[in-house]
């Protein structure tokens, strides 16, 4: 049952991820991405990480992707040649990453069923609490660094948006 659902989610995720870059129309790509986010959330649910699944939908599907769609519709991007100059570079990097994954998997071997054991302890304590506890104890420093980076990005965006207005006033 578990491996069957993983097979389904994994296949759809891989297929829709390919479709995101392969489709010609930007809006179709966004739809493919939406399907992919949904299935990633489904994968989280099969791992008993309901909190992550909900956050995945709220943040990625509900907010970020809507903004993508917003931009795509505002700019009214016509059908574009997906295969640009950077195509070769991208393919090369992708191949390197694939080789890495293949190497790691073949070196370490596929895990038997480690996920079940870990999730039972998480489910006992409450999934959301476990995430929160991990974020604020073990991973406090990376968490703060990540929030700082996001803050910098936010300030940068405000500065860039304000530049034109301030330049005109001078």
């Amino acid at each position: 049952m578990g491996s069957l659902s993983f097979l389904y989610f994994g296949t759809v995720i891989a297929l829709s991820a390919i479709l995101v870059v392969a489709l010609r129309k930007p809006v179709s790509s966004v739809i493919a991405l939406l399907v992919m986010f949904f299935h990633i959330a489904g994968l989280f649910v099969t791992l008993h990480a309901e909190f992550l699944a909900a956050v995945q939908l709220i943040v990625y599907a509900g907010a970020i992707l809507v903004l993508y769609l917003f931009v795509v519709m505002l700019l009214n991007v016509k059908e574009d040649d997906s295969y640009q100059r950077q195509f070769r570079l991208g393919m090369g990097l992708g191949l390197v990453a694939l080789a890495e994954v293949v190497y790691i998997v073949s070196a370490a071997g596929l895990p038997e069923e480690p996920i079940r054991e870990r999730t039972t302890s998480a489910a006992a304590a409450g999934n959301t609490e476990m995430v929160g506890r991990a974020l604020y104890t073990t991973y406090l420093f990376p968490f703060e660094v990540a929030s700082l980076i996001l803050l910098v990005a936010m300030i940068g965006a405000i500065l860039m948006a304000k530049k034109g207005i301030m330049g005109e006033s001078k």
């Binding site: 909900a54 939908l57 509900g62 907010a63 999934n127």
Partner: protein, 361 residues
């Protein structure tokens, strides 16, 4: 056998809830027109049935038999997908709403909770996740129609829904801090007692000598209500479908059952946000007085009745606002959302968490 009983009970519960929600949607279309007309010195629908009570049936039949038009140049797939994408998320959220007391009954050796379809541990997040998916129906419908009014309506809706979804999410965090849970049932159970324990007043969360200290969520409640009205695209925040500017916004090119899907989604969303508001802020199925008045085996009727009363009060508030307030301008909407609602919600989180920290033993 147990699996079968469990599945059967789930199907029955889903069927009942969907039936009640669809009936309420049908009733709401009539109730809205009647309430609006009463407030505006009119009569509303009067022709179909006595005092127009059968109007929803007539409307349904009309929409069902209307010609289904797909405009030239429209993206057929997305045009058909959009109504489904807005209707399904609106209905799916009802799965975690507790309609009555948190009881368990034994049926062929299987424990079943009769008043909630399923009590998942991230209930409120689940609803928020699917409500946020509902925006896709609007945006894609607007884009796929190949119509400038539809596109503008879709774009407005995208911006509005993102902005106000944030406020909804932040407004309920205060309640989540108080309850210490994301489950709708636990949140409702924590407000048991009397009206003073409801989160809108919040006297039941203290500890030690500070037991009387209220952790009121009234600010969060106001922020939630305003954001919910904006989120469901109702007046005075109905900019996405502003009739006088954009014909009907993203619904301009839709007809027949596809239009009916959008219409039903709007009303189902209204019911859903009303359910969330009553569970999160007004104690859900708890009566404003301590305990119940009916005997123990009938007390669930009281709980369901109080829940219904609260939900309908919110729905009436929706109509009331629509009858009273004019539509906002777009920049007013955005400024209000980001510069007023967001800081209020954030401040509420800070204050609530500080107070809860000191109240906790």
């Amino acid at each position: 056998m147990e699996m079968l009983v469990f599945a059967g009970a789930a199907v029955v519960k889903i069927a009942v809830v969907m039936g009640v929600v669809l009936l309420t949607v049908a009733f709401l279309t009539l109730a809205e027109r009647k309430v609006l007309s009463w407030m505006q010195d009119r009569m509303g629908p009067m022709e179909v049935g006595p005092y127009g009570t059968l109007q929803p049936i007539a409307d349904g039949i009309k929409l069902f038999f209307k010609e289904d038009i797909i405009p030239a140049g429209a993206n057929r797939f997305l045009f058909s997908l959009a109504p489904i994408l807005s209707l399904v998320p609106a209905f799916i959220g009802f799965a975690v709403v507790p309609y009555g007391p948190n009881r368990e009954i034994e049926l062929f050796g299987v424990t079943i909770k009769p008043f909630i379809i399923t009590d998942i541990n991230i209930g409120i997040l689940y609803i928020l996740a699917f409500v946020s998916i509902g925006a896709y129906g609007v945006i894609l419908g607007g884009w796929a129609s190949n119509n400038k009014y539809s596109l503008l309506g879709g774009l407005r809706s995208a911006a509005q829904v993102i902005s106000y979804e944030l406020n909804i999410g932040l407004a309920i965090i205060g309640v989540l801090i108080l309850s210490g849970s994301l489950s709708m049932v636990t949140i409702a159970e924590k407000q048991a007692g009397s009206i003073l324990n409801w989160n809108i007043i919040g006297m039941g969360h203290g500890g030690g000598i500070w037991w009387w200290f209220p952790v009121t969520q009234i600010v969060a409640f106001v922020v939630y209500i305003i954001s919910a009205v904006a989120e469901t695209n109702r007046l005075p925040f109905d900019l996405p479908e502003a009739e006088s500017e954009l014909v009907a916004g993203w619904m301009t090119e839709y007809s027949g059952m596809r239009f009916a899907f959008f219409f039903m989604a709007e009303y189902a969303n209204m019911i859903l946000v009303s359910c969330i508001a009553s569970v999160l802020f007004l104690g859900g199925y708890h009566a404003p007085y301590p305990g119940t008045r009916l005997p123990d085996n009938l007390s669930w009727i009281e709980g369901v009745a109080w829940f219904t009363v609260k939900v309908y009060a919110f729905l009436f508030l929706f109509f009331w606002l629509r009858a009273t307030l004019p539509r906002l301008r777009y920049d007013q909407l955005m400024r209000f959302g980001w510069k007023v609602m967001l800081p209020l919600a954030l401040g509420n989180i800070v204050i609530t968490s500080i107070v809860v920290y000191f109240l906790r033993d």
